[in-house]
C-alpha cells in the first residue's frame, strides 16, 4: 500500500483508539477533578463493562444489534451501580482522603479483577458487532462499525460538555470541584455529588468498553492497558479538564495508531510515556490544566 493510504488507515485506527480513550479518560478525569480521588480501579470498570456486554449479548438471540444495544444500555447501568456501592462502602468511609483512596482503589482493582476471573473465566470472548457494513475508500475498505465508534464518542463527549457547562447539574459539579466546603454552604450535597460523579466516571468507562468489545473481545485483564493510557491522557491534558482530555486522547490515540502502523506498538508506548515525562517536567498541571490550588 502506498504511503498516503497507509497513513490514512493508520490515522483511522488511531482515531478509533482516541475515541475510546477519550471516554475512558474523561471518566478518570472527572473523578479526580471533582473528588480528588485517583481511581486506580477505573480500568476494572472498563473490563466489567466489556464482560457484562458479552454476558448480556450472549443471553439475547436474534440479530446481533439487539444484544449489542441492550448491552450498551444495561452494562453501564450495572457498572454505575457497582461504582455507587463501592463509593458508599469504601471511599465515603475513608472521607475521600487522597492517599487512602489510592490504596483502597488498588484493592478494588484486584477484587473486581479476581471476581471476573472466578465467574467469567480466563478466556477472551467476542461480542458480535451490531452491523458489519464496510465503507469503501479508493484504496481500501474500512469497518463502518469502527467509524461509528468515533461518531458515538463525539456525541457522548459533546453531551458531557453540554451537561458540565450548560446545565444546573454541571454547575453543581463544577462548584463541588472548585471548593467543596463553600459548595456545602450553598446547599450542595457534596456526598451525593461525589457518588454521582464516581458512578458517571465508571459508566463512561463501561460505555467505552461496550463500544470497543466487538473489536477487541472481553477479557478479565483488559482493563490494565486502557488504565495506563488514560492516566497518560489525563496527565498530558490536565486533570479535570474536559478539553485537555479530548485533545490529549486524540494526540495519544493518533500517535499510537500511526507509530504502531509504521514502526511498532512498543515504540508508540515509549513515545507516549516520554511525552508524559516531558509534560510532568515542563508543565506539571498538563496542557490545559490550571495550576494546583
Amino acid at each position: 500500500m502506498a504511503f498516503g493510504p497507509h497513513l490514512l488507515l493508520a490515522a483511522l485506527e488511531g482515531l478509533v483508539t482516541s475515541a475510546v480513550l477519550a471516554l475512558m479518560a474523561l471518566g478518570l478525569s472527572l473523578v479526580f477533578g471533582v473528588m480528588r480521588v485517583v481511581n486506580v480501579a477505573h480500568g476494572e470498570f472498563f473490563m466489567l463493562g466489556a464482560v457484562l456486554a458479552w454476558w448480556i449479548a450472549s443471553l439475547v438471540t436474534g440479530h446481533p444489534a439487539i444484544g449489542f444495544l441492550l448491552a450498551l444500555v444495561i452494562s453501564p447501568l450495572i457498572v454505575g451501580a457497582v461504582a455507587l456501592v463501592a463509593e458508599r462502602l469504601v471511599l465515603r468511609r475513608l472521607n475521600y482522603n487522597p492517599e487512602a483512596t489510592i490504596v483502597a482503589t488498588i484493592g478494588m482493582l484486584y477484587i473486581i479483577q479476581q471476581l471476573a476471573l472466578t465467574f467469567y473465566g480466563p478466556q477472551a470472548r467476542p461480542v458480535d458487532a451490531p452491523f458489519t457494513y464496510r465503507i469503501l475508500f479508493p484504496w481500501f475498505g474500512y469497518s463502518g462499525y469502527k467509524l461509528s465508534i468515533i461518531a458515538a464518542s463525539i456525541v457522548l463527549l459533546t453531551a458531557t460538555w453540554f451537561v458540565l457547562t450548560r446545565t444546573k447539574i454541571g454547575l453543581v459539579m463544577r462548584a463541588t470541584q472548585y471548593d467543596s466546603e463553600t459548595a456545602q454552604a450553598f446547599g450542595i450535597p457534596v456526598d451525593r455529588v461525589y457518588a454521582g460523579v464516581f458512578a458517571l466516571g465508571a459508566m463512561l468507562a463501561a460505555i467505552a468498553a461496550v463500544l470497543i468489545v466487538p473489536i477487541t473481545q472481553a477479557h478479565y485483564l483488559m482493563g490494565m492497558d486502557p488504565l495506563l493510557l488514560s492516566f497518560i491522557v489525563v496527565i498530558i491534558g490536565g486533570l479535570g479538564s474536559l478539553r485537555g482530555t479530548v485533545v490529549a486522547a486524540v494526540l495519544i490515540g493518533l500517535s499510537d495508531g500511526i507509530i504502531s502502523a509504521f514502526f511498532s506498538p512498543t515504540l508508540a508506548k515509549i513515545i507516549a510515556t516520554l511525552l508524559v515525562a516531558m509534560v510532568l517536567v515542563f508543565r506539571p498541571q498538563g496542557l490545559f490544566g490550571t495550576a494546583s490550588r
Binding site: 444546573k168 454547575l171 453543581v172 463544577r174 462548584a175 472548585y178 471548593d179 466546603e181 463553600t182 459548595a183 456545602q184 454552604a185 450553598f186 446547599g187 450542595i188 450535597p189 457534596v190 490550571t290
Partner: protein
C-alpha cells in the same frame, strides 16, 4: 426583640483539639451582632459551626425554634442562613452570573431575587459574563455578598468582609450591612476593625479562647474602650 439565632454550650473540635468551649450567644432579630476577639479566639469557627461545616460535639444552635446541629451541612443554608466566608471563597473559575446562580439555586429563588440583589450591587450587572477570579478584591467581596443574599436569608454571617479592601469599598460594605438591617436581616459580623464595628453593629460579643466572654452594646463600647483593649489588645 425576639431571637433569630441562639447558641448554647457549643463545643467544637478540630481533630482532638477543642476550639470552642461551651460558647453561648444570642442574635436578636434584625440586629447586627459583631464578634470581636484575637486571632485564633474561635470567631470563624463559630460561624463555621453555625453552617455545620465544623460539627458540634455538644451544645445547640437554634434558628428560631429549629435546631441546626441535627441538619446536614448542606441543609443549613436551605433553612435560611447565608455565609460570606473569610477570603470570599468565590468559585473563581466560574463567571459572576454562575456564582449568583449557585446562590439562587440554594433556596430556589428566581429572577425577582436576582434583580433585587443586582440592584444592591449594580456594578456586578456589567460583569455578569466575567470570570469571578478576575474581579478586583472589592468587586469579589460584593459578589460574595450578592451570592449569599440570593438566599434571601433570615440570618447572614459575614466573616471579615472588609479585610484587605480600600476605604471606598469598606464604606460600600458598611452601607450594605446597614441596608440589610433596615430590611430585617439579622447579621453576625466577624470584624477586626473596631471602627467598622462601631459604625454598623448593635451589640458586640467578645470571644476569647473559644468562649463568649461578654456582650455589650455599641454605646457601652464607645463609652469604655477598655473592653477592646482587654479582649482584642488594641485601643
Amino acid at each position: 426583640m425576639s431571637d433569630a439565632l441562639t447558641i448554647s454550650g457549643l463545643n467544637c473540635f478540630y481533630g482532638e483539639v477543642q476550639v470552642l468551649h461551651g460558647l453561648s450567644l444570642t442574635l436578636k432579630k434584625g440586629e447586627v451582632l459583631c464578634l470581636l476577639g484575637r486571632n485564633g479566639a474561635g470567631k470563624t469557627t463559630t460561624l463555621k459551626a453555625i453552617m455545620g461545616l465544623v460539627p458540634a460535639r455538644a451544645g445547640s444552635i437554634k434558628l428560631g425554634e429549629r435546631q441546626l446541629t441535627t441538619l446536614a451541612a448542606h441543609d443549613v443554608p436551605k433553612a435560611g442562613v447565608a455565609y460570606v466566608p473569610q477570603g470570599r471563597r468565590l468559585f473563581a473559575e466560574m463567571t459572576v452570573a454562575e456564582n449568583i446562580e449557585i446562590g439562587l439555586m440554594t433556596r430556589a429563588k428566581g429572577k425577582a431575587t436576582r434583580d433585587a440583589v443586582l440592584d444592591l450591587f449594580p456594578l456586578l450587572r456589567d460583569r455578569l459574563g466575567q470570570r469571578s477570579g478576575t474581579l478586583s478584591g472589592g468587586e469579589q467581596q460584593m459578589l460574595a455578598m450578592a451570592r449569599a443574599l440570593c438566599l434571601e436569608p433570615e440570618v447572614l454571617l459575614l466573616d471579615e468582609p472588609t479585610e484587605g479592601l480600600m476605604p471606598s469599598m469598606i464604606a460600600k460594605i458598611r452601607e450594605t450591612v446597614a441596608k440589610l438591617r433596615e430590611r430585617g436581616v439579622s447579621t453576625i459580623l466577624v470584624e477586626q476593625r473596631v471602627d467598622a464595628v462601631l459604625s454598623v453593629a448593635d451589640r458586640v460579643t467578645f470571644i476569647e479562647n473559644g468562649r463568649a466572654r461578654e456582650t455589650v452594646s455599641v454605646e457601652a463600647l464607645r463609652a469604655d474602650p477598655a473592653f477592646v483593649q482587654r479582649y482584642v489588645g488594641v485601643g
